[in-house]
């Protein structure tokens, strides 16, 4: 499958944007500038990037606590990082007016329905959004990003059952980074291949290297095409790993040094950069330029956030009801 040059460069920039965003947030969180807690997705960038490169702005995704990358990828590179950063800083100018924070960063204007702090329910909400598409006869597609920890919730089963029974345009994309908080998925399931779960719903289950953005893109393209044609849901596993702990401050001592080193080596960004240079889509110089541009964009976004006021306290009382 040939992907046009512009799209490849766009995908590369998206991955760099997610990485720089996450690394800056890690730094500012450690410095005590960000309230609450944050769960970072550095290392997993290829998953939302490869999937969302197949989506339109009117398609819908659901996200998780580890969701910054989903929002950045779904929005596209023209969407400013500033309101996102401002949300994490709890400012009035945040995407969600300072009511969501890192864990619930979400924007229906760009098709991010929810970002869930409790796992499983997103699958049933996504099935509902896919039902809307079906009832209205649109060809919209819904992608529910989940982590491996969600696989054992009842709601995963209920959402997927509904989607398969009604042939809804839903893709469940599981970013399998192996660790559900501090618990290894293979210690708590009798599974070697998590895509075996798809058999229970009689739908395709595909496993892909979640650190290879082009592989993710290809698998997602097939699933999106199936969904658009009304052929029903697909379950995809992206095998990936996280560079940080479950939350910032987690020392992740439950992971061996060997595993962490391996994860650092599997970094999807240098890998894609090398590939694009080999494909002559990108030069080293251009890649450095993208890096620098994104860094500047992030610096500006942080400046915007820091200069933004906190919400008025009365904001507490708004938006309870329509």
């Amino acid at each position: 499958m040939a992907i046009e040059k512009e799209k490849l460069l766009d995908m590369y920039r998206t991955m760099v944007r997610i990485r720089i965003f996450e690394e800056k947030i890690a730094e500012d969180f450690a410095a005590g500038k960000i309230p609450g807690f944050v769960h970072l997705s550095a290392g997993q960038e290829a998953n939302p990037t490869g999937v969302c490169a197949n989506l339109r702005i009117d398609d819908i995704i659901t996200s998780t606590h580890r969701g910054h990358g989903h929002v950045i990828a779904k929005a596209g590179n023209q969407y400013s990082l500033a309101p996102m950063v401002a949300e994490l800083y709890g400012r009035k100018t945040g995407v969600n007016k300072g009511k969501a924070g890192s864990q619930h960063l979400s924007d229906m204007d760009i098709g991010v329905l929810v970002a869930e702090g409790i796992q499983g329910t997103a699958l049933t909400l996504a099935a509902g959004a896919a039902l809307t598409a079906k009832l209205r006869g649109t060809d919209q597609v819904v992608v529910s990003f989940i982590g491996d920890g969600t696989l054992n919730t009842g709601r995963f089963h209920e959402g997927m059952n509904m989607a398969s029974a009604w042939k809804l345009p839903l893709i469940c994309y599981c970013e399998n980074n192996v660790w559900a908080e501090s618990t290894n998925i293979y210690d708590v399931t009798n599974l070697t291949n998590i895509t075996d779960r798809a058999v229970a719903f009689n739908i395709p289950g595909v496993s892909v290297d979640g650190n290879d953005v082009l592989a993710v893109y290809k698998v997602a393209a097939e699933a999106v095409a199936r969904a658009r044609k009304g052929e029903g849901p697909t379950f995809i596993e992206g095998k990936t790993c996280r560079r940080f702990g479950h939350f910032q401050g987690d020392t992740h001592l439950y992971r061996s040094q060997e595993e962490k080193d391996e994860c650092m080596k599997r970094d999807p960004i240098p890998r894609f950069r090398k590939r694009l240079i080999e494909m002559k889509v990108l030069t080293e110089k251009e890649a450095d330029k993208i890096q620098q541009e994104v860094q500047e964009e992030m610096d500006k976004a942080v400046k915007f956030a820091l200069e933004s006021p906190f919400p008025d306290p009365e904001e507490v009382l708004t938006d309870v009801y329509a």
Binding site: I60, G94, V95, N96, K97, G98, K99, A100, H104, S106, D107, M108, D109, L113, V114, G117, I118, G120, T121, L123, T124, L125, A126, A127, G128, A129, A130, L131, T132, A133, L135, R136, G154, R155, E158, G159, N161, M162, A165, T318, D319, V320, Y321, A322
Partner: protein, 325 residues
């Protein structure tokens, strides 16, 4: 005018609204071709609107409510048929963490969603099919709560609930759903706004706020007390959220006495909330302590004798009123 049962009122409200607005659909268990709702209140709707809009599901409460929320947030106007409100515990995350989507995401998302569920004891259905859960539900922010006592109210309020751009739970008392008694309703269309109490009986000496089935028991008690020369005003709040505080306070200002009759365990009940509001906002008008006539703080038993003891009745209310006269 025409005579209509509580069950027929619900059927007509949904039918009229589905006819009016194609974005409305019902989703739930046993609502379609065989039963039309387990008490038959949705009879005929499947034949009229088909399987797409009267959408039968497996036993899967989280997918019913979660699916309805997802559909509502993306532009549909679903009615999630949750069967018995005791089943709401199965979908607790949806209730306490998802219905608040509008607030959580800074106002962008709208959730035009109605949840319907049966409530109440009186059928020996035991603990898992008999609760009201008013107080429990009132603690959930962002959720409006309707609990009609008559067919007239049921129809007008359900139509308003469906038209709301907010999540509303519409609670149908099983004893009323199975009752053959009727209300007069207009032949032409009408709606009743949420948040407006109804004075079911005017009186001057004691205000009784009663909810759902308890309205009928309060009216029966008021008849008996009338014979003894005690004048009771019976207020049916009809919606617990929003609550028509003003109607209750105005009545208390007139009578100086308040008794709340509520079919749920006393601790954490809607009755407690109403009592607290009056204590905070109309204390100076009270001539006697506020009384709550509720169920004991126990689960709900099966045996008719035990269940009868558990449910608040006319005698309990009369006893409470006598204590403050």
């Amino acid at each position: 005018m025409k005579e209509i049962t509580y069950q027929k009122a619900i059927n007509e409200a949904i039918d009229e609204e589905m006819k009016r607005d194609p974005s409305i659909f019902i989703i739930g268990e046993d609502i379609g071709k065989h039963w039309g709702g387990s008490l038959g209140e949705l009879a005929g709707l499947f034949d009229k609107y088909g399987a797409e809009r009267v959408r039968e599901t497996p036993i899967s409460e989280t997918a019913i409510l979660g699916g309805a929320i997802g559909a509502a947030a993306t532009g549909m106007r679903p009615i999630a048929y949750l069967y018995f409100d005791d089943f709401l515990g199965v979908c607790g995350d949806e209730l306490i963490n998802q219905l608040q989507m509008k607030y959580m995401y800074g106002g962008k998302t709208k959730l035009p969603l109605t949840i319907t569920a049966y409530i109440g004891a009186g059928l020996s259905a035991a603990h898992q099919h008999s609760k009201c859960l008013f107080g429990w539900l009132m603690n959930i922010s962002g959720l409006k709560i309707v609990a009609p006592a008559t067919a007239y109210d049921a129809k007008g309020l359900l139509k308003s609930a469906i038209r709301e751009d907010n999540p509303v739970i519409f609670l149908e008392h099983k004893v009323l759903l199975l009752s053959r008694s009727t209300s007069q309703i207009p032949n032409e269309e009408y709606t009743i706004p949420l948040g407006k109490a109804d004075i079911k009986r005017g009186g001057s000496e004691v205000t009784v706020v009663a909810i759902a089935l308890m309205v009928h028991r309060a009216l029966a008690a008021a008849d008996k007390l009338q014979e003894k020369g005690i004048s009771i005003e019976v207020i049916d709040p009809r919606t617990l959220v929003p609550l028509d505080k003003q109607a209750i306070i105005d009545s208390v200002k007139k009578t100086g006495r308040l008794v709340i009759m509520d079919e749920e365990p006393k601790t954490g009940s809607a009755a407690g909330e109403i009592a607290a509001i009056v204590a905070e906002e109309a204390f100076d008008f009270l001539d006697a302590p506020i009384k709550r006539v509720c169920a004991p703080d126990t689960p709900i038993p099966f045996s008719p004798v035990l269940e009868k003891f558990w449910m608040p009745d006319e005698e309990d209310l009369i006893k409470a009123i006598n204590e403050i006269m």
